[in-house]
């Protein structure tokens, strides 16, 4: 036996046995809290600081003034803050839609649950728009035949919630039957195509709004709801929305 012959075999043997040798013997799992008992790493704090200051400067810039505090729970079938949002979408997006299609938006429909915060009395900042609309949803305009607009009306009747609308008037009796429904003052023509502005979430069936899928076509405006609010607030010196008669019960 030669030693020189032995060592390579031995090395190979050891290598192979090492490779196969890692035996998992114990696993320990736990959850660690990240809270104020920890001191933040200074280099990270320093890195964030200029970003934070820039964002805050922008968010805290005053862009309008609110006469009162408005909440989505003030009002049964329409609310001042919901009317403000729907009217803002109508006013801001109709020029965009019209310039592209030569048509006007007939109706705006948003959802009550999409109003994520109150609008507080006093100075209105960009931050308020982020609080009311933290999501990235954008405006789409859906071309919907009148017969399916009636399904939309039926949805509003059944849900009995103050979903923000603009352009429509809907009156229910005490048993929630429809007494009157008009769009821009006219009764709904089941054969006509209506141009309905909403957001991409609702268009996709969010909040149970399945009727949008019966559309003829859809126009994507690439205009975020939040930016609609920021632009609208910036344009208006004072915000003074009211509960009105657009959706009521007699």
């Amino acid at each position: 036996m030669n030693l020189k012959f032995f060592i390579p075999i031995l090395t190979l043997f050891l290598f192979v046995s090492c490779k196969q040798d890692h035996q998992l013997t114990k696993i320990v799992g736990k959850r660690l809290d990240i809270n104020d008992s920890l001191t933040g790493q200074q280099s990270i704090e320093d890195f964030i600081k200029p970003y934070r200051e820039n964002v805050n400067k922008n968010l805290d810039s005053v862009i309008s003034y609110a006469v009162d505090t408005y909440s989505k729970s003030d009002g049964e079938l329409n609310t001042a803050i919901g009317n403000l949002m729907a009217d803002a979408v109508m006013e801001q997006t109709n020029p965009v839609f019209n310039s592209r299609t030569n048509n006007d938006i007939d109706l705006v429909l948003l959802n009550h649950g999409g109003i994520r915060s109150i609008l507080s009395k006093g100075n209105v900042t960009t931050r308020a728009a982020y609080q009311i609309m933290p999501f990235e949803n954008s405006v789409v305009v859906v071309d919907l035949k009148g017969v399916y607009v009636l399904e939309l009306v039926d949805y509003l009747k059944r849900s009995k919630r103050a979903h923000p609308i603009s352009g429509m008037k809907l009156i229910l009796d005490e048993n929630d039957n429809i007494i009157e429904v008009t769009i821009n003052g006219n009764i709904i023509d089941t054969e006509r195509i209506y141009h309905i502005a909403t957001n991409d979430y609702l268009y996709g069936g969010g909040s149970g709004m399945t009727f949008f899928q019966k559309k003829d076509s859809v126009h994507v405006l690439d205009y975020k709801i939040r930016n609609v609010l920021i632009d609208y607030f910036t344009k208006k010196d004072t915000l003074n929305p009211v509960i009105d008669n657009r959706f009521t019960r007699n």
Partner: protein, 303 residues
Amino acid sequence: MKRRAFIQQTAASTALVTLGSLGLQSFSSKTKKITILHTNDVHSHIDPFGPDDGRNANKGGVARRASLVESIRKNNPNTLLFDAGDIFQGTPYFNYYGGELEFKLMSMLKYDCATIGNHDFDNGIEGLYAQLPHAKFDFISANYDFSNTVLDTHVKPYKTFVKDGIKIGVFGLGIELNGLVLASQFKETKYLNPIEISQDMARILKDDEKCDLIICLSHLGYNYKNNDQKASDLTLARATKDIDLIIGGHTHTFLPKPTIEKNSDDKNVLVNQVGCYGLYLGQVDFYFDSNKNKSADGASIIV
């Protein structure tokens, strides 16, 4: 002549014994520890919640997470840090900087890799692509086929790491985007069946890559009680084998400790998820022994 042969033989066997025992000493007695740290659904939460927050007062914060991660790494250099997706969206930092700050901070914290959540498409697939230069860590996804998109070649199905001689394989999984993300955002990203892909991945990582530890970074969601047909971390755990740990996300599930499931081989697999917004850091330590007399399924789990 005979005597000379005897001496040679003796010398050889002595060498064998010496080398053998040296070998045993250097390999067998040492216990190796691999620490896995993880976050999910941080959603652009960079600053801690303020003292007046109704739900998460004084919790979270990237700078604090950095301190915690650093102290754990100091304690065990064989540490890996992962994120299971939805890095983007949730605070104005994302709206103003499009994810740049999130990626830069994760790079400073030395994240090792991350998978892609549905909200990471919120600025479109181009928006994610545009921020990739700010990430010094890799994105992995095995069931999104990006070949017809700008992300082609920028996202790998899996990654392997070697720490202290232990080979760790990590693969990524994403949730079905249809119905969750607008098609105009994810473009031609193809969603592939995560269960089938995971079976392939586990085989590749075990047999081809010879990994000692296999981890899945999943954005599928923990569990869908009302829809058991929908792929989730729990259905994945049961339908696959050879995966040691599934790090989950998407459902913002706050697990106080990892869930232990039985895989298709009736072996244990851990499923963990730490809620959202960077309120917690998950830690799973794996201990390896090189004593080859140990039986194959003897790992004790302490959670």
